[in-house]
Assembly symmetry: C2
Homo-oligomer: 213 residues x 2
């Protein structure tokens, strides 16, 4: 089986933004309310951060359940890892506490060097380089499994522009942001390169599933 | 996490039949054409019997991809295992060849004893007993993972009547059979006990996802 590069459970607003403007420590999604973008996922039984045994097991749960399935590494942008810009704050260990939900090597794209950081079974590597080279590193680390492209929107765009993304699952949430970090003007932009299933969920989001033509 | 009993990728006709009448060696689904019921699954990249590297990676693929995910055992009816009735033909080893797609212990419900049969990493155990007792056996064999209830329709009905099924994924195919082995008159029969997401797929089937209220 070929190793795929997959975008999973990435949420955008109805006008195409993956995050708002003005990211900060207090507001990781800037002026966007993360609940508006991600409540469909938080309501499911398989949501990695769930602390009680409840949760729905319908359509949305297939997507959160698939999050770790056959994934051996993640690639993410610097702004997904941290609210800082420029050189790293060596005390910052990500947003996820002592048990990050990745459970694999994670490659953080950054122009600023930093030693690797291990938290539980997740190790963050800080890498500089072209998308092709970083993907090659991540595939090697994934040991035959697929690689998740974790976002944010700018990072996904960069890998789309290099034509390296094999599949995408993007949940379009019923909220307008007006401005922010844009993934697309419209999902139709990808149709020349990808098949697309558009699947409305009872939760209010519309799942967009893309795979290569 | 509690161990669940899950129905997955079970296909029925629009009038509620999981198989037609007159099962035989030549016609495992009786007068029903299995292509009408299962082509949605066969078209996906993750279909277990796929021999070429193609296949779709849209909505339907999430369901076939989930087939083995966190499953530690299967329970199936005698008529899913074999076209025979009465005592077992000791030469019959199931429909699936030397590499059955289960990769776990499988508990075949039958009133006729037969020694266990191992093919590759699947072992079929032939068991007689009430649903509760068989489920207990299967959960022990699944070592903490979930148990798949593999069908056919009569076996699923039996476990539904005993209120032992935690989740169901039933794909309703756009074909009428008129008669056969019935799962339901209508999916609405289950709504008093289960939440239900009804999800039309571009392939033409309508996925019905049930989880306990």
């Amino acid at each position: 089986m070929p190793q795929l590069l997959r975008v999973q459970n990435f949420a955008v607003s109805s006008d195409g933004f993956g995050a708002g403007e003005g990211q900060s420590l207090e507001r990781p999604f800037g002026h966007a309310n993360p609940v508006d973008l991600m409540s469909w996922a938080g309501a499911t039984a398989s949501w990695p951060n769930r602390t009680d045994p409840g949760g729905s097991r319908g359509l949305d749960d297939y997507f959160t359940r698939d999050f770790t399935h056959d994934i051996g590494a993640e690639i993410m942008g610097r702004n997904k890892f941290s609210p800082h810009r420029g050189p790293h704050d060596p005390d910052w260990q990500g947003w996820w506490g002592a048990e990050p939900p990745f459970h694999t090597p994670v490659f953080v794209l950054t122009h600023h060097p930093r030693p690797s950081l291990t938290l539980s079974d997740t190790t963050f590597h800080f890498v500089d380089g072209e998308p092709e080279a970083v993907l090659e590193q991540a595939k090697a680390a994934a040991r035959g499994k697929d690689v998740r492209l974790g976002g944010g929107a700018t990072t996904i765009r960069e890998f789309l522009d290099a034509d390296l993304v094999d599949t995408l699952h993007v949940a379009v949430a019923p909220v307008r942001l007006g401005s922010g970090v844009r993934l697309w003007e419209s999902p139709d932009e990808l149709r020349d390169r990808y098949h697309c299933d558009v699947v409305p969920s009872p939760s209010g989001v519309t799942h967009h599933l893309f795979w290569r033509r």
